[in-house]
């Protein structure tokens, strides 16, 4: 089987590690600005990361921004892991296009463009403005019975994500935001997170947006069954015996237990990283996709900003594994891109500081008078 494609290969080849000189320059600039050193906390770190990604200081302002909502269905829905019927995926796509969902309201508030991508909804969707028809399949197969996707499907879905990142960037966007929709996709996410982190299913399988104890226990069993069935490729990926097979091994795991939207989001992140454009991750679905990205090309994680920490079990562990600190933590469990969009102004503000704030010298402000500690005090 061929997991890789020319587009995936060339995209991964373009990803470079963060630039140390630009990061040092950003940290040094932060220290000269008219504020006590370090007083912007985590936002200073974000600005330094984005300088490293852009390989210049200050990095470009991360605006305008666009959120891409990748929608797909899941064969594992047949296992009864959620009380929501599968047709809700298609119905919510209609809601996104009509502008009636929370993601639309949040995008409007922060001035982000919304693109909806049908990468695998299990229904024919009416063509129309606002919907990119990129259906790879009518949903995945049931991961408890076999691989969720074929090699060709996962490859094509990753390519869709790369292409969407490319097109949104060529259209002038300087910040990308992940969004997702897919009934049962927290089950696939849990399987991906367990596969990538080695954590047991009961630690990473959440209640989605809130199922009862019986359904939750069943959902954990379903994830465990899938992990057992696909133990061989998961072990191969985690052992990474042959570095030159890294991409293929990660995509094989993605095909085994992932979703078409996970594959597309993974491509979206790789595409953003290859173009040195930051990508704000939403919750557990994007986090699971980013774990696959980290297995494909660790340097791509430098393009990621964790928008928020969701309530879903496994998301916190995912962020720790990725080395990312969430910007917002408001007990959200919706998805769609909502948590990432809330964080977008924070990301933009962090970079804006490097562009606009005066230095002590330029503003004629006296610095603190004692030596010793690096920080001042007001």
């Amino acid at each position: 089987m061929t997991w890789n494609s020319e587009l995936v290969q060339s995209t991964v080849a373009e990803i470079r590690p963060p630039d140390d000189a630009a990061m040092r320059a950003a940290r040094a600039l932060q220290d000269r600005l008219t504020k006590p050193q370090g007083s912007l906390g985590m936002l200073e770190d974000v600005s330094v990361r984005l300088a490293g990604l852009a390989r210049e200081c200050p990095p470009p302002m991360p605006e305008p921004a666009a959120v891409a909502i990748f929608a797909a269905d899941h064969g594992v829905h047949a296992q009864g892991v959620t009380p929501w019927p599968q047709e809700v995926t298609a119905q919510m796509v209609g809601n996104f296009i009509a502008g009636g969902a929370v993601v639309n309201a949040f995008a409007g508030q922060v001035g982000a463009e919304v693109t909806v991508v049908d990468v695998g909804v299990a229904a024919d969707l009416p063509a129309g403005p606002g919907l990119l028809p990129r259906k790879v399949a009518y949903g995945t197969a049931d991961m408890t019975e076999g691989p969720a996707m074929t090699a060709g499907q996962v490859r094509r879905a990753v390519e869709v994500g790369i292409e969407v990142a490319r097109d949104l960037t060529l259209a002038g966007n300087r910040c990308l935001v992940t969004g997702d929709m897919g009934i049962a996709n927290t089950t696939a996410s849990a399987a991906l997170i367990a596969a990538c982190t080695g954590l047991p299913p009961e630690k990473v399988t959440g209640r989605g947006t809130g199922i009862d104890d019986t359904t939750h226990a069943h959902k954990i069993d379903v994830v465990r069954t899938a992990l057992d069935r696909h133990a061989a490729p998961i072990r191969a990926m985690r052992e990474q015996l042959h570095d030159h097979e890294r991409v293929g091994r990660a995509l094989e795991v993605l095909a085994a237990v992932g979703g078409l939207e996970h594959a597309a989001i993974a491509g979206f992140i790789l595409g953003a990283a290859s173009r040195r454009v930051p990508v704000v991750l939403d919750g557990v679905i994007a986090g699971a996709a980013a774990l696959i990205v980290a297995a494909v090309e660790p340097d791509a994680v430098a393009a990621c900003v964790a928008g928020h920490r969701s309530m879903e079990a496994g998301h916190a562990a995912t962020l720790v594994h990725l080395g990312l600190h969430p910007l917002v933590d408001l007990e959200l469990r919706l998805g769609e891109g909502t948590g990432a969009l809330l964080a977008l102004p924070l990301v933009q503000s962090s970079v804006r500081v490097l562009h606009e704030v005066a230095t002590f010298d330029s503003a004629g402000v006296t610095e603190k008078q004692l030596d010793g500690q690096q920080e001042g005090s007001a």
Copy 2:
């Protein structure tokens, strides 16, 4: 001494408790929107609170927004509680007016108007656009040697805050944001927080934006000295023996250990509450002022949204005392209004949901099929 004034009295008299019916309507509307119930976490609570404040559902969109930066100096600076020279207060006011400070960058990012109010800077500031000259005194007196303010000063500073809230609201703003500047104002804040919460000085006195251990220990001693000197009015306020004297007792404590910017921010909050306009609180300085507001009129706290939790010792306890949950927690310790401005889009997004998101009925989206739990799952 007369602590109260006609303007303060009439403002406090206009403040009403939150409207239960509007809050219930907002909660019920949230539950009909096309998302799993409760999936927006703390943002749902914010939208419900603002409905209660506005006494209607949905409440008005909290935009446009304006941040008022109240600047003042502190006599306690003479005690050596900070390595920053006092003239930095005036220099930073110049930086705000020139648009070169972090608060300007953040306000620009979220579309908030900036107003700088000289309520007590210890220097003559050049008149010019962007600066409201409302100087009550050239800084406060040293609270370790006597009351920081006279009755007339504290009364006038509170009135300034009320008037600024009034003028910004009459200009069309539908959300107010607190800002502050004043070298040594974390010392006065610590004294106010200890006075209002009963917590010991060592628990609520922080390192400002980062002082060494020796200065920190000295700062705690300074706060303790001030609290001992003003023990009588502090005890009277906390015992609240006579409800009709509530306002006067709280303002007496504010005069004893507070700053002119604390007094103005307290007035700003009271003014916003009386006009049923939400006010987003910045960090520990605004928190200390809000504690005085809570002692003056507990219902005014319903107008407050906690923008963020700062790194300053005592701020977390302040928010608990006020019953407020911070929206952002990014290890900030800058002040100026920066933390509150980062939270502004989150507040706006929370209300926008009530205005724009479709219901399950209107969007033709199927609800989850199982009964029992209130939440769905994706």
